[in-house]
């Protein structure tokens, strides 16, 4: 039995021991500590990615039910580890350029990945809270890692204070749920709730508090205030990590928490999710128009994407979850490519911040410009590219669940959002600009851009593999 217990969280175990090993060794290395911890982290991530795949696929619960396991959880873990691997592959040069080559950065990233894996596999309110804390504590530090920049410090402080507030709200919600059900375990809560014809007022209150706190983590609209500032202030690779990986895990946790213990009370929570979704889509589309800073623009764009994903959750049905899983995959690839390109372009030795500085890129670097336009068209949801399918399956699920108005608002706001995505393409191709671009692409970056572009551009040829997988995964949650 102990053997089974430990093999069930093999990825976490490998990650913990490996991270502690890297931490210990790199403390003693002087000049090459960053290089060592960076490359060792890549190796470690590959190892744990491999160990996720041979995880025993059962629904045994471990360590007094603090921990769960299953196909959906494994899938989200694979997405997390893959996203982090992408982060490691494109970011190394940036840290050297800004003199940020501290060996603690990869270690903090690994710890936050560990926290995410605990978060997504949690089966208990306490382990959920501890996973969220481990993940976000590392992220607060990473946001303010650039001590020389005031904006980075501001970003870290803002993220920390608001994050602490959301943790407080989460704990309050947990205490209300514990007080009204007498259980902390997801299965036990579900069992206790199954005798209730409707939710008690106190339970609804606790549920709302927890949703609010998780909405803060996914940055859905009334709780999105921190996102643009943190995305702008943090070093760009860290922003990419926020945008790609943390969003995925928070959405996954939101799905698990709402479907598992509160699955039979869809009507109670779906109205909150509908509100969050509508406001995120509209604000994500409108507020991004006036932004000139590329990081802020991507922040609002990610808020918009979260709005679309929440449509799928609001349906509370299998098709909706299938839509979210497809969306998450495509979202990962789109953002990976966009951030990799963003980190490779320099003007006069400086990284790009203002989107107007893209002007004239197409004359010197036609291929890169073409790939950027593919990604922008895909993000806007224009048909031949993958981004269209992600939205398509979400809207189908909304129509099947009779949430027609959500689908209509979604289509309208994606039309509005197309404006600012296509504006970037217009700046690249039609505006006159300086000619002093410098695109630095090493093999790692080329690999990421190549794979993502193939995935996004040719998704239409063989979509069935991803869609079938998503279909099967969505069945396992219910």
């Amino acid at each position: 039995m102990p053997y089974i217990n430990s093999i069930m969280f093999l990825p976490e175990l490998i990650l913990t021991i490996g991270t502690l090993f890297i931490l210990t060794v790199s403390t003693f290395l002087k000049n090459i500590s960053f290089k060592f911890s960076f490359n060792a982290s890549i190796l470690l991530l590959v190892f744990s990615l491999y160990s996720v795949t041979f995880d025993i696929d059962t629904n045994l619960f471990n360590y007094d039910n603090f921990f769960d396991n299953g196909a959906f959880i494994d899938f989200i873990k694979i997405l997390i580890l893959f996203g982090t691997l992408v982060f490691f592959l494109f970011s190394e040069e940036y840290f050297y350029d800004l003199n940020l080559d501290k060996f603690e950065i990869p270690i903090l990233i690994l710890f936050s990945v560990l926290g995410m894996m605990i978060m997504i596999s949690c089966n208990n309110l306490i382990s959920m809270y501890l996973g969220i804390e481990l993940q976000s504590l590392s992220l607060y530090i990473l946001a303010s890692i650039n001590k020389k920049s005031i904006k980075s410090t501001e970003a870290g402080l803002k993220y920390f204070i608001l994050g602490a507030l959301s943790s407080g709200i989460l704990l309050y919600g947990c205490s209300l749920i514990y007080g009204f059900t007498g259980a902390l375990n997801f299965q036990e809560i579900e069992l206790k709730l199954s005798v209730l014809p409707q939710l008690d007022l106190g339970l609804i209150f606790g549920l709302v508090f927890i949703i609010v706190s998780l909405a803060f983590k996914v940055s859905a609209v009334p709780f999105h205030m921190w996102t643009p500032d943190v995305y702008e202030g943090s070093p760009t690779p860290i922003t990419a990590f926020f945008a790609i990986v943390t969003k995925i895990v928070a959405v996954g946790l939101l799905i698990r928490f709402l479907i598992l213990p509160f699955g039979q009370f869809v009507d109670d929570w779906s109205q909150i999710i509908i509100f969050l979704s509508i406001s995120s889509m509209i604000l994500g589309a409108l507020a991004a128009m006036t932004q000139n800073n590329i990081n802020r623009l991507l922040a609002y764009s990610s808020i918009g994407h979260i709005g679309y994903m929440l449509i799928g959750l609001a349906t509370g049905a299998e098709t909706g979850i299938r839509g979210i899983i497809i969306y998450l995959c495509i979202y990962l690839f789109m953002n990976a490519a966009v951030f990799t390109i963003l980190l490779s372009i320099k003007i006069n030795g400086k990284y790009i911040e203002n989107i107007k500085s893209f002007a004239g890129l197409s004359k010197k670097y036609p291929i890169i410009s073409f790939i950027i336009s593919i990604m922008m068209f895909s993000m806007a949801g224009i048909p031949p590219f993958a981004g269209f399918f992600s939205k398509f399956y979400i809207f189908i699920s909304a129509l099947e669940s009779k949430l027609v108005f959500l689908a209509i608002i979604g289509v309208l706001s994606s039309v509005v959002a197309a404006f600012y995505y296509i504006r970037i393409v217009k700046i690249i191709y039609f505006d006159d600009g300086l000619d002093n671009f410098e695109v630095i692409l090493n093999f790692r970056r080329k690999l990421i851009i190549f794979i993502s572009t193939i995935f996004i551009a040719f998704f239409i040829i063989a979509p069935s593999y991803i869609i079938d997988t998503a279909q099967e995964l969505s069945k396992t949650i219910f």
Partner: protein, 204 residues
């Protein structure tokens, strides 16, 4: 049982009052002292519940370490607290409005307990501590059933430690540091150099 509720309400009142004083008193040192008062009173409430281990831990950790650290920070740093508190009055109305909403909602929850719904929780009185001490109880579950959570908490503390070092450690140029290993390994050969001095030229 009457005396128990009198004790509870008395100390609960002190906790609430001192918490209000923490955020409203002008002198930051007074704030910290009120904070200590509220910690101690919470510890007393734990004692009345029979959880003496938690009470002692609260005093040792929060009063002994955290609050004293606060006092140090307040006394060592020259922070203009009056300036920080500026604008407090302008935010006050909206803050009061929001907290009033929250409080009324909470009161509504506890008043309108739906009698039609079946009771799913056994609200019992105190747990039975007569057979063994609760220190032993906590120890029994903390390292067995709650092992997983215990380890995660340890990792969180490790991250906090790494973070505080990363964010505050600076290597200043020009600071002389004692390197003990170097001092120990000093030999006469590395310190004394024999040189032949040429006549009437000396050495530089």
């Amino acid at each position: 049982m009457f005396i128990f509720s009198v004790i509870f309400y008395f100390f609960a009142f002190i906790i609430v009052a001192s918490s209000i004083m923490v955020i409203s008193s002008r002198d930051p040192i007074h704030s910290v002292l009120y904070l200590i008062l509220s910690f101690v009173t919470s510890a007393i409430l734990f004692v009345t519940l029979g959880a003496e281990f938690l009470a002692m831990i609260l005093i040792v950790v929060y009063v002994g370490a955290v609050a004293v650290l606060f006092l140090f920070v307040v006394m060592m740093l020259d922070i203009n607290f009056v300036k920080i508190k500026e604008g407090f009055l302008s935010y006050l109305p909206i803050a009061l409005l929001i907290s009033a909403c929250l409080v009324t909602e909470l009161i509504i929850i506890f008043i309108s307990k739906n009698k039609l719904l079946p009771e799913i929780v056994n609200y019992s009185d105190l747990p039975d501590f007569s057979s063994k001490s609760n220190t032993k109880d906590i120890g029994n579950v903390l390292y067995t059933d709650y092992f997983y959570l215990f380890q995660i908490s340890g990792l969180i503390l490790l991250v906090a430690m790494i973070g505080s070092i990363v964010l505050t450690l600076r290597t200043r140029p020009g600071v002389k540091k004692q390197n003990i290993a170097e001092q120990v390994f000093v030999s006469t050969k590395s310190r004394i150099i024999k040189k032949k001095v040429p006549l009437r030229k000396g050495i530089k």
